[in-house]
Symmetry: D2
Amino acid sequence: MTQKQVRIGLIGVGFVARCHLYGYRAMPAVFPDSAALPVLELVCDAGDALAAQAAARYGFRRSTGDWRKLVTDRDVDVVDICVPSNLHREIALAAIAAGKHLYAEKPVGLDAREAAEIAKAAAKAGIRHLTGYTYLRNPLVGLAKKLIDEGAIGRIVHFRGAHNEDYLADPQAPFIWRCDPAIAGKAGALGDIGSHIIAIARHLVGEFGAVCGMARTVYAARPTAPGAAQTRAVGNDDEAQFLVIFANGAAGHIETSRIATGSPMDITYEITGTEGAIQFDGERMNELRLYSNRDPADRRGFRRIYAGPEHPPYGSFSPGTAHGLGFNDHKVIEVHELMQLVAADKPPLTDLADAAAIARILDAALTSAAEQRWVTL
Amino acid sequence: MTQKQVRIGLIGVGFVARCHLYGYRAMPAVFPDSAALPVLELVCDAGDALAAQAAARYGFRRSTGDWRKLVTDRDVDVVDICVPSNLHREIALAAIAAGKHLYAEKPVGLDAREAAEIAKAAAKAGIRHLTGYTYLRNPLVGLAKKLIDEGAIGRIVHFRGAHNEDYLADPQAPFIWRCDPAIAGKAGALGDIGSHIIAIARHLVGEFGAVCGMARTVYAARPTAPGAAQTRAVGNDDEAQFLVIFANGAAGHIETSRIATGSPMDITYEITGTEGAIQFDGERMNELRLYSNRDPADRRGFRRIYAGPEHPPYGSFSPGTAHGLGFNDHKVIEVHELMQLVAADKPPLTDLADAAAIARILDAALTSAAEQRWVTL
Amino acid sequence: MTQKQVRIGLIGVGFVARCHLYGYRAMPAVFPDSAALPVLELVCDAGDALAAQAAARYGFRRSTGDWRKLVTDRDVDVVDICVPSNLHREIALAAIAAGKHLYAEKPVGLDAREAAEIAKAAAKAGIRHLTGYTYLRNPLVGLAKKLIDEGAIGRIVHFRGAHNEDYLADPQAPFIWRCDPAIAGKAGALGDIGSHIIAIARHLVGEFGAVCGMARTVYAARPTAPGAAQTRAVGNDDEAQFLVIFANGAAGHIETSRIATGSPMDITYEITGTEGAIQFDGERMNELRLYSNRDPADRRGFRRIYAGPEHPPYGSFSPGTAHGLGFNDHKVIEVHELMQLVAADKPPLTDLADAAAIARILDAALTSAAEQRWVTL
Amino acid sequence: MTQKQVRIGLIGVGFVARCHLYGYRAMPAVFPDSAALPVLELVCDAGDALAAQAAARYGFRRSTGDWRKLVTDRDVDVVDICVPSNLHREIALAAIAAGKHLYAEKPVGLDAREAAEIAKAAAKAGIRHLTGYTYLRNPLVGLAKKLIDEGAIGRIVHFRGAHNEDYLADPQAPFIWRCDPAIAGKAGALGDIGSHIIAIARHLVGEFGAVCGMARTVYAARPTAPGAAQTRAVGNDDEAQFLVIFANGAAGHIETSRIATGSPMDITYEITGTEGAIQFDGERMNELRLYSNRDPADRRGFRRIYAGPEHPPYGSFSPGTAHGLGFNDHKVIEVHELMQLVAADKPPLTDLADAAAIARILDAALTSAAEQRWVTL
């Protein structure tokens, strides 16, 4: 292999780290012509023993129990941050100070202030950075963007977005770190998954002008462990929703819930324009629906477009339409983006500046809910 | 026929009157055991000539160009009001004064004040009355209600409702009376179709506690006629949406649009409970989807239930599941309800009291939008 | 009303007669400009008492217990035959001999021989006749036909058709007359419902060239009544299927079942052409899906077209797309066709000649199944 | 890493080889506890130069232009055959003779005779073998199997299966090796993709008893290259279909097409039982629909079950239901199966014996089509 090697230092080995690993592993099979290939150089978990175990299990060359060693390791090119939000700031600033590139999971930091601080430091240091807004990597988001930019649906009038999941729909589901604002931030479902649909809205419609919403903790306390009698108070929202006015005048509504019984992956966007409309449903992630009022009147209707080679970079996965990508393939695409960013300075779909902008919207939505009023961005 | 005959006096012969006629005509074939049968006694249109023409065309015994004659005609039992909202108050009060029963199209009156006045007069006079919230007559609304009442989805946490249509999606579509607040009321799309989804929300979830929303006229002016250069200012909302807190604590969102490109009949409700969920989409009006978390974990999912004989009064239309009802069948059911109301004093699904309650919600939504704040009901 | 009156003599008052009644009743509200209006003149049921009861119940002027009187009654213009197949021949021939027009439910007669005999007699007598292939009256069949005739999908390569229902899916469902070949004919599910999808195939693709199939009685015997210990042998097919070569060279497959657990109304057609494709699913009878390979490559897909005013005669029911027609609306359209046929000599979508052609296909399919070989038509 | 290493020798680097590579690459991230990990030891392509290039591109340690060297290479544990069918026999027999384990793409060999010869040799030699019937690896096939085995749908009455694609739907699409019977076998679409749905039918319903079908070359000749004037005769079927009687008495129909305009990935199965039904559609590969007649009568319906952790091995990919697997994930699962087979002797879902059984069905279907008669297996 004559390709450049990009040495990854991964911090944290939970759910999302596993998705990153999938991306690192599968990427070379999908993008053999990538400007660079990732190398699993160093992994950090809580303590040397666990870290060593993770290295063995996932195929890293080396391990450490101390993230400070990782961010300054001279054989690490990219620091990949897969830890809860409360640790983002310190780690990110240290990595930036060490001149490392950053691959940061969303939402970056505990709130808008932290996200802005990190983004500013990165910009000042000139390092390269990518924020992992997974669902933006779906090739059909690319198609939606292209259609909108081409004018296929005219001027955007309305945006309806949702990211609902059911991972805490069971009232007896135990307290997890995402319920703790000190670790996950004041935005609960809103920060965890609402941020994804906000990212998509910004990407497809544009900047947010003002929001007015509500946020609620539906299950006030949860068992500390499965079946435990002891409970712990949930400190952030189980569900949130808000009205939006976009800077370009479009109206919108965004909702999110982690207690949406029956909706394991309801990441939905419906964009109504003056001449057409676009619809997407995350439970059917390989389909985009397009309506055009330019079709003859007797045969107008939403057409169900399956992801295919015409929707880059789908063609790198398969030459056949509707073969279907999976959730983890988002991360394969994201890792490829990371390689192109680090090795060839190609800008990613979302970086720390986007993360900071999204964090401001999250804060505005929470303020709006707390004070029961519209908040201008 | 030994059944009682209920003599109808119809005022107005536009679109919705045609639907009523369908109901009057088809009802006896569907409900041969109805307590009464409608008789097309008297029709009123603008002027004697047009009225006579309508009588001939639609099979009424007699006609008149003067609605005052109709509401006092001694051979009329029920006054059926199918005229625009600005005429509701005067006609309804006169009919009530004459002791006639009322079949009133929605939304009753120009605003909450008028609706309340009419409802109060009717209650005082003791006449029988039915308000035509068409979509509530879908047998699947009955199933949804039964499931909720039985506890099949637990406690309701969230309601998402929409009634979007595209009848003014074309910016060149000419000005119609529904765009004129003096005729249709200050609520545009909100009053015309938003009222339907509000009616369903009230029926299934319960009373509204507070709302906060926005309402917009997207196309400020429209041609006065197809292709005309002259335009006329549109005086009410093309689209509106609002957040809701229901009296029982459930959260919700309701949206409506008459410019929803690609959505000719998007009357949607999605009700999330603590133990299940219900979904309905008006473009597939013969299906209700139900999710239950009591199903075994490996086979949980929304089941698509087709309307069938188990969902009264579907069985009066067909013994076969999924044979399918159509839009006009709503009115067949509604007319049957009217017959049972007038002849057997069986209470209807929606009457003038409901109309008044819905009108209050419409007013609150508009106030909230105008003043950009939450409004308590 | 200045319109011609067409006086109906109805024989039989079972399920399908109820659908005809719906048609007769609702038609004038939907088609006020029809060349004629139906009059419920005379009804015949088994015995004078039952007939009188039916007349009172359904609003006929007169009744009789003797169909021979009905077919020769001088105030009857159209004889409407809604009795089981074994009675078709005798009644139809008598009605033709009396110079009556015929409205005959499908499949006409017990077999191809009887259907041909009736069709021949009708042709010779010059009476007007319509055969009630209900589902052909869906406006979307009209759209499919238009699209095919226009070349929108190119040359037809493949047809897949099904009409599956579940009305006998329960093995304990009692024996009904449709299980008795002496009454319903040798074709069980095939004759009852398979004939519908054959009718659609003929209409959209063309004449059948050869068939090869199988037909099976899955539940050999059924209780004679609900819960009865005594059973009776089922004498015709519960399910049947066959391969087809159409005269124009297209290949196809047609299947039918009356024991299709979970499929109450699976009347499906999928037509694949060289440049596009069409799909229809009877459980969503207001949608047709169209694929065109002339769309740009990055946005090809089946578009979901809702029935609307562009698809005659839908506009007579509603000015709004996706308002939705119901099962009984097929018969409203069919009755209008009957009126136009009788009063204005406009040819119907299906007449006795079609019935005879379909009966020949049914016979060929059964022969093919019995002799396990291809049969040329 | 203490896991066993299984050294792969891959022959052929076309489309399906790319899918295998994806599987080899991603597997360790998904199944870190696998009994073994694959090592990309040796790759063979047509000529040393191309092979070296493939090795560099895809990360193999070594390369060779001669498959005979690969199959006898002492550092190869598994020979992975990704070449066209005409080369299967010679390579497989040589690999077996050399004592290598086999990972053989479907359909194995040119016909039933070759498939049987290879299967027999493998059995005799005692080597381990897996045949890559990709779609069987979908976790939802596992759920379908479990549901059937549990009796959730009662006794199977009917199976409808299809594998339609559109990769040659364009008549101007050039001739490919799959059109040449000398390379791909006499079964065209039938062998390439029809074999997949046959594999699923066998897995879920059981052995085939008899078949009767037809097979057609719709486009007799194709350009030799894109836009070329010169054409070459297509030597096998573009579409095929057949009726089936399964050994257990169930009836069925199977169809396949490579010219199915609009259907890029229509791999469908619909299984009707006496007490329920199962439906799957490959264009929505993360959903299975289940109907049970044990649900209460007023809420029966097909439930849409999304793949989730309850459906092994989905949980190894994600803890979240409906996160979605993609086409290439089938091969990740398949490679894991291969590792468990080679390192722990766990039997795979499909091996050479299955391949031989399927090849017999393909031959029977072609014979049946050629001789226009039923063929017993």
